[in-house]
Amino acid sequence: MRALLAHPWTARIGPPVLAVACAALLGAALVAALGQNPFGLAGRVWGEATRYHGLRDDAAYVIAYATPLIFTGLGVAIAFRAGMFNIGGQGQVMIGGILCGFVGWKLAAWPAWALVPACFAAAAAGGAAWASIAGALRAWRGSHEVIVTIMLNVLAVALTETLAGGRWKSGAGMMSQLPDVGPGARLPRLGAWPEGSTSVVPVLGIPVFPAHVPANAAIFLALACCVAAWAWLWRTTRGFELRATGLGPEAARAAGIPPRTTLLIAMALSGALAGLAATDLVMGQKGTWRQDDGLAFAGQAFIGIAVALMGQNHPAGIVPAALLFGALQRLAFLLSGVPKDLVFILQAAVILFVVCGNEIFRRALSRRRAA
């Protein structure tokens, strides 16, 4: 038990696990306070969840909801590892998204093998450029990135609206929307892959995903980004410099690590990951950039902050954290007889408990190694 408590992983995995447990208890208490039996509600949710295709629908929805959260969570985590708080995911997703849609439209004739990477690059570049503004201001002018990224969010909404409703607008309709991307830019849905298959993908002969669920191949890009982010942070020299700068800015500077470049790189990467989230919407779901969809989708970036926190800013933690928050979003559709706000309360409770849990574990540890 002692050894278990002292194990370095305990401090990392402990808080999120405890937080989920506490949030569940709180949720049950709330349900009871509303005059309902929590077990009865759980039973109804389970019944609802398994009604049509068993849990397949739910699993597919959870993956669909988790996809953008993985991207934005990773983005927040990278900036955080360098000692910065990037809360501009919203703006970075929007700029990345509109550029992704623009490239997919302008180069619509390109074949998939060329157009897919081009659209990925556009999304990443858009997010990176937008975040770099905050990074550069922080590095060279000392402006706080939180303030700057908030303002950049507002600016991004205005800028995308101007473009999608103006120069780049499609047709004469009322909608602020770009023309559709070329077919080569579409990411296949998990439920219709390989192409031409019916409502479910046969994986090892087992029917898996229903085709009507928006889960798409962007999830593979998200997972690849996790692996890449991990490898970059912990296996490359630059990644080492970024972590060193985050953990000991003065010592890193004294060791000759250029503080400004490092901050800029961290912000650019953070923004690139956030921007890539838009590939899920533009290439995987809608096939175009539509302003109102984009605005709603980019709001996910704020949940990305919670995902990063919950995942302890580690790629391997971010995936389960994103799945958890995806599951909570799915839960909203399955609830009956209680207000859907319960889901928001649960989300908030998880976040709160993780923050408290981290702090408690940190104090417990620093008590052991106090100065």
């Binding site: 050894a3 002292a6 194990h7 296996r235 490359t236 020299t237 630059r238 990644g239 080492f240 410099e241 972590r243 060193a244 953990l247 000991g248 003065e250 010592a251 890193a252 500077r253 004294a254 060791a255 000759g256 690590i257 250029p258 008590r367 052991r368 190694r369 106090a370 100065a371």
Partner: protein, 497 residues
């Protein structure tokens, strides 16, 4: 009468290390008790148990005869224990009085009663012979006075036993003198003092009794009159220690570092050379430009004017990377802030700053195998404990952290070694080792600039000594001809004898 503090059979284990095993310590009321031992011997851990920062795994603690059952800081304070932390817990922008009463402020109605706070601090100060201006802001005070405020704070909370962990590590010799005078006056008022120190001379001068720890165990407790420095060192290390290291005459070659009219901050124009194969010592009362000199010479501060050439390259306004490129190795003044990253492993810290060298970075990828192999080698060569390169730097004892910094910088094979207080907080055995290493650097042909507030250290190592006073060089003395007295006169602005 019960002893002030009685610790029996104390045991404390950390995940990878046993810090204390069967430690016994008895401190009588009204004595000044010194605690000595090698780096990592478990001194700080033992004191943290006493003041409620750690709970022991086994053993009994009695304070004034009462057994402690609740190991928390609040309980320790209530029992009369007061810890003067090495990293002062103060709010720099508040005044002395505000800091001292923080947490139990006197009030008038709902408001903070500033006047009563100031009176109380002045009263405490005069009662214990610790004068400070209650209205001064902490950030404006020198370290010695900040420490005094910390002591006042502890006294204000009614401490009967004061614990000081390496209180003089960051003090000038003059400030140390006055600290020990303070401790004696506290003793005369019936307070009990326990202090940890690696400076055996001070231990001899200030303590009544001494307890030595080695590798987590008590070696023994002796009245100070019965031991001399050599004996203490032997108790600590388990073998005789050579205080006098034999030093061959220097054979300096061409200038490696050429400094001309260099100014910046408190440094007001200094000119000197450091040649290959010589050690130039910089002596002076702290705050006379040493910090600025070290910062400029390691690229952390841009010079206001003047030039500094390292192997011919003008770098007075360059950053750290350019200095390292030109062949610098530097042991910085503040190892916790600038020398190490606490939450990284010892192995990572050992390559910090060298991580771009081809040996550790192949096509931008960290060469983990080379890093780990070299770390294991350095940990062994420099006797860093625990001998575990994966341990977080933060979990190391103070002296072992310093060894990590020294190990890394020497492994750069520097052309110029700038060493600022290289033996601050390290034990006698390690001091001997670090001094030998610096001499070995000289023998190898490195130029060494040694900045230290320890005159014996400078006298033991330096071939030439520059004395800084008021940001300028007040005099230069050949190492062989220097005496502590002579340097002292120069340091305080007197004419050379």
């Amino acid at each position: 009468m019960a002893a002030a503090v009685e610790m029996v059979g104390i045991e404390k284990r950390f995940p990878r290390v046993v810090a204390n095993v069967g430690v016994n310590l008895v401190v009588e009321e009204g004595e000044i008790h010194a605690l000595a031992g090698e780096n990592g011997a478990g001194k700080s851990t033992l004191m943290k148990i006493l003041c409620g920062l750690h709970a022991p795994d086994a053993g009994v603690v009695r304070i004034f005869g009462r057994e402690v059952t609740d190991f928390r800081p609040a309980a320790a304070i209530a029992a009369g224990i007061g810890m003067v932390h090495q990293h002062f817990m103060q709010v720099p922008t508040l005044t002395v009085a505000e800091n001292v009463v923080l947490g139990e402020e006197p009030r008038r109605g709902p408001f903070f009663d500033r006047r009563r706070a100031e009176e109380r601090v002045a009263e405490l100060g005069s009662r214990f012979g610790l004068p400070v201006d209650p209205r001064a802001r902490i950030e404006d005070l020198p370290v010695g006075l900040q420490q005094r405020v910390e002591i006042l704070k502890v006294l204000a909370r009614g401490a009967r036993v004061l614990i000081l962990d390496e209180p003089t590590a960051v003090l000038t010799p003059q400030e140390s003198e006055s600290l020990y005078a303070t401790l004696r006056s506290l003793k005369s008022q019936g307070r009990t003092v326990i202090f940890i120190s690696h400076k055996l001379r001070e231990v001899r001068a200030a303590a009544d009794r001494l307890t030595v720890l080695r590798r987590g165990r008590t070696v023994g407790t002796v009245p100070i009159g019965e031991v001399d420095e050599a004996k203490i060192a032997e108790m600590m290390i388990g073998r005789p220690v050579l205080f006098e290291i034999e030093k061959t005459p220097a054979a300096p070659a061409g200038a490696v570092l050429e400094v001309r009219d260099l100014a910046g901050g408190r440094l007001r124009g200094v000119t000197f050379d450091v040649r290959a194969g010589e050690i130039v010592g910089v002596a002076g009362v702290e705050g006379n430009g040493q910090s600025e000199l070290v910062e400029i010479l390691s690229g952390l501060r841009q010079a206001g004017s003047g030039t500094a050439r390292l192997r011919g390259r003008e770098l007075s306004r360059a950053g750290p990377a350019a200095w390292f490129e030109a062949g610098l190795g530097v042991i910085p003044e503040d190892r916790n802030l600038r020398g190490l990253i606490g939450e990284m492993s010892v192995a990572d810290n050992l390559i910090l700053g060298r991580h771009r060298q081809p040996r550790y970075s192949r096509a931008g990828i960290v060469a983990g195998a080379a890093r780990d192999a070299d770390a294991a080698g350095l940990v062994e060569r420099f006797d860093i404990r625990p001998a575990d390169p994966r341990a977080e730097a933060e979990s190391l004892s103070g002296g072992n952290r310093q060894k990590v910094v020294v190990a890394r910088e020497l492994s750069r094979v520097p052309g110029l070694l700038v060493a600022a207080h290289p033996t601050r907080g390290v034990d006698v055995g390690a001091i001997e080792f670090i001094h030998r290493s610096i001499l070995a650097e000289r023998a190898r042909g490195a130029a060494v600039l040694l900045v230290s507030s320890e005159l014996p250290e400078i006298l033991a190592l330096a071939d030439r000594i520059l004395v800084l006073c008021g940001g300028a060089i007040a005099g230069e003395v050949r190492g062989a001809e220097a005496t502590e007295r002579g340097l002292g006169v120069l340091m305080t602005g007197g004419a050379p004898a």
